[in-house]
């Protein structure tokens, strides 16, 4: 991996090169206190001082709703039209290492068995410029699930601020190399840098493998009902999660024209598994909460080879009734 440095003051110029090369830039911006990814035209618009973005960068490859079919009725027939769902050449700047890792979970789900052309083309057209975490908070637990505040996994280029005015730039992939080559003169070869000393320290709170081993025997544990007693079933945890991928499919029409949309959904909703007959395999919130934990920490590691959680802490920060995933995992590990 090649290590370079770039002056913070040169990022604006880098953005200019990226944009004139035909790529839009999505970066964290402050929208009334919520830090969300949005298209920017200048480095000055990028939010600062946040520990974690409120919403993840997942939307760049899996929008909250997207067109998967466009149709038009003609007499007794139906005609398909091209979906308006383009993968725009994009750079996502400023995502945390946990978010960069999460996109490989998203990709794995959508590549398995029936490769999804919409997700694939967005991933192919997107370059991830991550920024390491200099700070963390009590909700962060990336190191417990295989990541870290300076983890390079998933990023194409990872920036770490090593000085007020200088970023270390680690070139991780060819896509990352292509960004650097757009503005080679802005980068200088890096000397010896102890990157970790510039990254936040995130404690390792639990053993992911041990959790995975415990869960299959805990299906009937009282822990699920206990933890979810205050759960509202609002789905916020799924909405903010960078690695949740479950979705619904809905039609929208306007006269003879219509579109079919893929929309984010949540296993926390009662209707998620409700059969037409009225039967619901997960009829109470405890069973839905169990599914969330089992899917992320038992079923997905078994099926995809990686957990469905990157320890970003968003679900706990956003939960309106203060359910704390890290605390709940620790309880699960201590339960009989």
């Amino acid at each position: 991996m090649e290590k370079m440095t770039i002056q913070a003051g040169a990022i604006e110029e880098l953005f200019g090169r990226i944009r004139s090369g035909g790529r839009r830039i999505l970066a964290p911006v402050d929208k009334s206190g919520a830090i969300v990814f949005d298209e920017i035209s200048s480095y000055g618009q990028v939010a600062s001082g946040y520990i974690q973005t409120t919403l993840s960068a997942k939307e760049a490859v899996l929008p909250r709703f997207e067109e998967i079919l466009r149709f038009r009725s003609e007499g007794k027939g139906v005609v398909f039209e091209e979906e308006s769902n383009k993968a725009l050449p994009t750079v996502v700047f400023g995502l945390r290492p946990c978010d960069a890792r999460s996109l490989s979970v998203v990709s794995a789900v959508f590549e398995r068995d029936y490769p999804d052309p919409f997700v694939r083309s967005k991933i192919e057209n997107t370059v991830l410029i991550g920024v390491s975490c200099a700070q963390s908070d009590e909700y962060c637990f990336c190191t417990s699930v295989g990541g870290g505040p300076g983890d390079t996994t998933g990023s194409d280029l990872l920036l770490t601020r090593i000085d007020d005015a200088v970023f270390l730039a680690e070139i991780i992939t060819e896509k990352g190399e292509s960004i650097v080559s757009m503005a080679q003169e802005l980068f200088a070869r890096a000397g010896d840098v102890d990157k970790n000393s510039h990254c936040a320290k995130v404690s390792r709170y639990f053993d992911l493998e041990e959790l995975g081993k415990r869960l299959p025997a805990m299906f009937d544990s009282p822990v699920w009902d206990g933890q979810s007693l205050r759960c509202l079933g609002c789905g916020t945890c799924s909405f903010v999660c960078p690695s949740c991928t479950c979705f619904d499919i809905q039609d929208e029409t306007d006269g003879p024209r219509g579109i079919r949309l893929r929309c984010w959904d949540s296993c926390g909703f009662a209707q998620f598994t409700l059969h037409t007959s009225g039967h619901n395999p997960r009829e109470v919130q405890g069973k839905r909460w169990r599914q969330r934990i089992m899917h992320k920490f038992s079923y997905q590691p078994g099926g995809l080879g990686e957990a469905g959680c990157v320890g970003c802490g968003r679900c706990s920060r956003a939960c309106p009734v203060d359910m704390n995933l890290l605390q709940h995992i620790q309880e699960i590990l201590e339960a009989d």
Partner: protein
């Protein structure tokens, strides 16, 4: 871009059979001959049927793969999509994508006897296998069908039941719940598990296929067990709610399986290993 799996085949409704006041069977033909030629499926598989503008619904393919050129689906008018589907007429276009899911391993059952046990609207997934087996009749020994519904009116495939009854090489037992009979009813009166127990079909060298409402399954399994069927020789199809049909949307997830891609066909030996979320 790669293939968009959500783009359905366009199918013309060729024939509509009213099975009961709220259950219809649609025969569907491909509007595109090239697509028709490239299409094949096996017994047990399902698809997503769509009414454009309303959405998609999941049903098994109820016709046999031995009958080429069309597929059939049987559905009860229950939700938004099935209500819209039922309002369609012969000649209308609907969408179908599939076939999805695994299959009944009919090839492995050569030389064996088959016992079909079903209740109500759960006959369609077995009807596919029944016709498949009847079209390959010499491959199997005895074929026994035990089918029940709440009332005479609720029995589906009434014409086919008569056709099967007339065949000397099938044992067909039909039953309706007590109170569901009519003065003309000549079949059994009683619940499927009881009727099955009385009929006591042999289990030696026999595969049982069991599809029905959860309560019927629950009460029938002990009867099959007492008759000598092992869980590995009893097959069923699970019917969890699905949207995508291709193992991504997440809602049919049961333990490490997705019913849509690892099922819908399971033996009860496999079902016993699953978390009870179906």
């Amino acid at each position: 871009m790669g293939k968009n799996e959500y783009k359905p085949y366009l199918m013309r409704i060729a024939e509509i059979t009213e099975e009961t006041p709220d259950v219809n069977t649609f025969r569907l033909e491909f509007t595109n001959e090239e697509e028709a030629g490239g299409f094949s499926f096996n017994a047990g598989q399902f698809g997503e049927y769509s009414v454009f503008g309303e959405g998609e619904s999941t049903f098994c393919i109820a016709s046999s793969p031995t009958r080429k050129g069309y597929i059939e689906c049987t559905f009860r008018r229950a939700g938004r999509v099935t209500k819209a589907l039922a309002a369609r007429e012969v000649g209308d276009t609907i969408g179908f994508r599939g076939p999805y899911g695994n299959v009944f391993p009919i090839g492995d059952w050569k030389g064996k006897s088959l016992l079909f046990v079903s209740g109500g609207i759960a006959l369609p997934p077995l009807r596919c296998v029944i016709w498949n087996a009847l079209d390959l009749r010499e491959d199997f020994k005895d074929i026994t069908i035990v089918y029940g519904a709440r009332s005479v009116q609720d029995l589906v495939y009434k014409k086919e039941l008569e056709e099967w009854r007339a065949k000397p090489d099938i044992t067909l037992i039909t039953t309706v719940d007590p109170g569901g009979e009519t003065p003309e009813w000549k079949g059994e009166i009683g619940f499927v598990p009881t009727v099955l127990e009385k009929a006591a079909p042999a289990s030696a060298d026999t595969i049982a296929l069991l599809c029905g409402p959860p309560i019927m399954i629950k009460l029938t399994l002990p009867v099959l067990s007492a008759l000598g069927f092992s869980p590995g020789n009893i097959f069923t199809t699970l019917e969890n709610r699905m949207k995508c049909g291709i193992g991504k949307c997440g809602r049919c997830n049961v333990g490490k399986y997705f019913v849509c891609k690892d099922g819908p066909v399971f033996t009860f030996a496999q079902v016993d290993e699953l978390p009870a979320e179906y």
